[in-house]
Amino acid sequence: MTGDSGKAQEAFQDTLREGAHRAAGGEPPADRMWFFREARFRCLALAEEGLQCEDCEIEEHEISPHAPGQISQLAPEQLAIWISAAPDPQRSALAAFYLDEFTPREILVLLELKAPELARFVRSARRQFQAWLNATTPVEVYENE
């Protein structure tokens, strides 16, 4: 969400502190969604402080059968930076979706999105990520290995 592990840790710890504070005050968070919602808004607030990405057209490619091989060559930090560079709410949608912790309905509720919006964000991100993979990890390179 932030592309910076220090900022992410700060948002995470502030969220837990807030949850603990509420619990101590006799008003614990109503459900587990509260933690993710709170963490998301803290991450967005922190991300706004740094340099901002410019809006630009990103190339899109069809998903390749070689994509799993291309992805396996990446470091998790590279993926994190790529996702954190996406504009919100697409960034939150990708983070929540690829965390693979929520049901589709939970993601829609958590991000207050409609199904067509979430579908559009995830679909276009896949195609953009594939284009980026094709540029950074050409299929020929790993096919030759």
Binding site: S5, Q9, F12, Q13, L16, G19, A20, P28, P29, D31, R32, M33, F35, I63, S64, P65, A67, P68, I71, S72, L74, P76, L79, A80, F97, Y98, L99, D100, T103, P104, R105, E106, I107, A115, P116, L118, A119, R120, V122, R123, R126, F129, Q130
Partner: protein, 267 residues
């Protein structure tokens, strides 16, 4: 149209189909995924999408977590587990089907209990008599001109039928015709036609206990209804008396109540 043809909305849902299968995924998503997997043109594309998503999710899982963050997660109670709400449970088609089935069974049960509550010894024969009453024409009975109560002597003298007595509440009414016949079980039945409210009276042997052959008794008046006719039945000395008329059992009940009021007023 193919059973597995996927709608536009279904196709849209599959763009964010869950990466790993887990409980709690709603039915529309499950159906959409099942259809897209079986579609001739969509299956391959969906398979690529799933492999892509799985690879990314696996990469996400390898993200290093600092010792400090891992420490927080040792306290599992920090995140309360989501409880299934009763509304969601109630909307489940399986629950709705089960509830409907239970409702139908309960309904049938209540109906049977209500039917049983109206049953009494001889109610089956009484219903048959109501069917006879509804089909009886005026010329089928022998004409008489006497009080209904006096016909018990006639039945005894002519047919040796003991205790075939008309109930006191109806004994004063004028009878216009009567006959004695055997029913389908061979029991002797006396039928009396009365011009008042075009009523018909029936006298027939009370149902007997098969063990000791003693008549089954019950107190007061009981009511039966059949084919638009209703009857008020009473048992005395092993013989059932039924007053029958076309209409509601309420009419008979009102008539009986009036007779009882008159009798107590006169006494």
């Amino acid at each position: 149209m193919s059973l597995f043809r996927i709608s536009r909305r279904g196709q849209l849902l599959t763009h964010f189909a869950p990466i790993t299968e887990r409980p709690g995924i709603d039915r529309r998503m499950r159906v959409a995924v099942m259809r897209v997997k079986r579609g001739k043109h969509t299956a391959k594309q969906f398979s690529l999408q799933q492999s892509f998503d799985k690879a990314i999710a696996d990469l996400v899982q390898t993200t290093p977590v600092s010792q400090e963050v891992a420490e927080w997660f040792r306290n599992e109670k920090l995140i309360p587990t989501a409880k299934r709400r009763w509304r969601k449970i109630a909307r489940n088609p399986a629950v709705i089907s089960a509830a409907l089935a239970v409702a139908v069974i309960v309904g049938i049960g209540v109906f049977i209990v209500m039917e049983r509550m109206n049953e009494f010894p001889g109610s089956g024969t009484a219903r048959k008599m109501l069917a006879i009453a509804s089909s009886t024409k005026s010329g089928q009975l022998d004409p008489v001109n006497a009080e209904a109560g006096s016909l018990s002597d006639f039945f005894f003298m002519k047919y040796q039928l003991e205790h075939y007595d008309v109930a006191p509440e109806f004994a004063h009414l004028r009878a216009s015709a009567c006959k004695v016949f055997d029913d389908d079980e061979g029991h002797r039945v006396a039928q009396i036609s009365v011009p008042e409210k075009r009523m018909q009276f029936f006298l027939f042997p009370a149902e007997r206990n098969p063990k000791d052959m003693k008549p089954k008794l019950f107190n007061g008046w009981r009511f039966v209804e059949q084919e638009g006719w209703s009857g008020a039945v009473q048992v005395r000395n092993g013989v059932c008396f039924m007053a029958a008329l076309r209409g509601d059992a309420k009419d008979l009940a009102l008539y009986l109540a009036k007779q009882n009021r008159d009798a107590s007023g006169g006494g």
